[in-house]
Amino acid sequence: MRTYIPKPEWIILDWHHDCIAAEMLCIQQCAACGVWRHPPRKFCASCFSDDVSFQPVSGNGTVLSKAVSHRSLDPGWQEQAPYATLLVELAEGPRVLAATSVAPDEIEIGHHVTVRIDPHGHDFALVWADPVSTTTSRLESTT
């Protein structure tokens, strides 16, 4: 699938670099007060510390909303239509948009998902979120 890939700059490029280096989703966290924040900002708006960095997250999240697109101006995405884009609330608090490999009617608001990244070159990583498999859910419910 060939889709639009942006050329990030500034602190958004730093975010992508750190995700790609860690081979997992990282989110900006304030070392002073511990607050997680996305999208990345210049400094911590909670305590005004500039001691912020990108830290790996658990990858666990919940679907807060989903956009189901039947048309796209992007030819690559148009081939996939209809497709869902998920608004995922991470266990750490911040929310990210994520592509998903499941059909729109197989994922609903409130479902638990696991998040991973898919690097495109050195400067951009796409976030994906897929439903936690039923086996995993059963394990979780028994522990």
Partner: protein
């Protein structure tokens, strides 16, 4: 009124082109035509204009002034809130007038909203572009890579949440679409005049980005509109009854530059602007005679009606049912057809219609309309409100 400022300025001139798909005219011609019509409608000449608020892109104040023959621009400013810009501009124009920075302010809007994406085969596309403001960077970096390029897709992120949280029925959205289309049948310039919309048509229309069907989305058009704002004192000597700017406000969600990380996805700019606007104008929601609500998408209208206090969160469906927002109903809404059925001029066409309602000269006139409320909505949820009244 809370201060001596509110109610001291008025809209005295309006101009608008036809709303078409595939104009034979250059976008600059459209903008200048609407501007000249507004100045003439006010009974003024370009020499009387000394303040300009230009469209967000396409033409600069400098160019507009030079083409119109405005000899002395004393004040200009750009307002960049997407579709919330024109209604918010009334604040800025009125402040400039009240402070003595300018006497007569021209506010312009115009674009090739249809031809930019679907040019005629033989058309020479313009190299002029609009200023995307805060949307550009966010969409480029965070939404477009996930296949979300259009406003319908971006807004569907919270409209889907809205529909599921409050169990909003499609009846509510359809009622908005059909009221606008019904009013467009009465508007001489509406793109959708002569094309009525039935509930069956609505139900049969395909999804663009759920919950938005084709007929939940506004119509892209080539068009331009303009207004002239002046002091109420000067307005009383001019051609038409003044549409007094009684009060207005803008508001921005937090963060305004990104949708996903707002604590409440459904708290938009208008939720902050609405109470400010009512307080400034010294009126209440139930006092309003005619509503011109920014209708880029039907569900966005429902959210705004709730923010304005016409219904509880999730309850706007009842407010728009049973013809309540149609001509003859208690709160006629988008009497020109709105963005959904007249055409998309960033809501300055809503301001133009509100002025006509106050003057008593609208194509679909609300009998005895003395108070009109206009909203603007733009970018990723910025909002603006203006309350206009007759000079009683």
């Amino acid at each position: 009124m809370s201060t001596g400022f509110w109610g001291t300025t008025a809209i005295v001139g309006v101009g608008e082109t036809d709303y078409v798909r595939g104009s034979d005219r250059h976008v600059c011609d459209l903008i200048l035509d609407a501007a000249m019509e507004a100045i003439t409608d006010a009974g003024l000449t370009p020499a009387d204009i000394n303040g300009i608020i230009p469209p967000p892109g396409y033409m600069s104040t400098e160019e507009i002034a030079a083409h119109l023959g405005v000899p002395d621009v004393a004040y200009h400013v750009s307002v960049l809130m997407g579709g919330a810009s024109p209604t918010a501009s009334l604040q800025t124009a009125s402040m400039a007038i009240a402070c003595g920075l300018a006497d007569n302010v021209l506010v312009c809007m115009g674009w090739n909203g249809y031809s930019a994406l679907s040019p005629k085969p033989d058309a020479q596309p313009t190299k002029r572009t609009m200023n995307l403001g805060p949307m550009g960077e966010t969409v480029r970096n965070f939404y477009a890579p996930y296949g979300l390029m259009s406003a319908a897709q971006h807004y569907s992120l919270y409209l889907r949440h809205y529909v599921e949280k409050h169990n909003v029925s499609e009846d509510a959205a359809a009622a908005v679409a059909m009221a606008c289309r019904k009013h467009a049948q009465l508007n001489s310039k509406a793109l959708m005049r002569g094309k009525p919309l039935t509930r069956e048509d609505y139900n049969a229309s395909p999804y663009i980005a759920e919950p938005l069907r084709k007929f939940d989305c506004c119509v892209e058009t080539d068009c331009a509109t303009a207004i002239v704002v002046t002091s109420l004192e000067r307005a009383r000597d001019l051609a038409h009854p003044a549409a007094v700017y009684l009060g207005g406000a803008e508001g921005h969600p937090a963060p305004a530059d990104e949708i996903a990380n707002r604590p409440n996805l459904l708290e938009l700019g208008i939720h902050r602007a609405a109470p400010r606007a009512f307080e400034r104008a010294g009126v209440q929601a139930h006092d309003i005679d005619v509503l011109e609500i920014y209708d880029c998408f039907t569900y966005v209208v429902l959210l705004q009606l709730e923010a304005l206090g016409y219904a509880e969160p999730g309850g706007a469906g009842e407010f728009v049912a049973n013809g309540n927002v149609e001509l003859g109903g208690k709160f006629p809404m988008n009497t020109h057809g709105g963005l959904l059925s007249q055409g998309h001029c960033w809501g300055l066409n809503h301001v133009v219609e509100a002025v006509r309602q106050i003057r008593g000269t609208a194509d679909a006139q609300v009998k005895g309309a003395e108070l009109a409320l206009v909203t603007g909505y733009g970018d990723l949820g910025d909002g603006s409100v203006a309350i206009l009244g007759s000079d009683r």
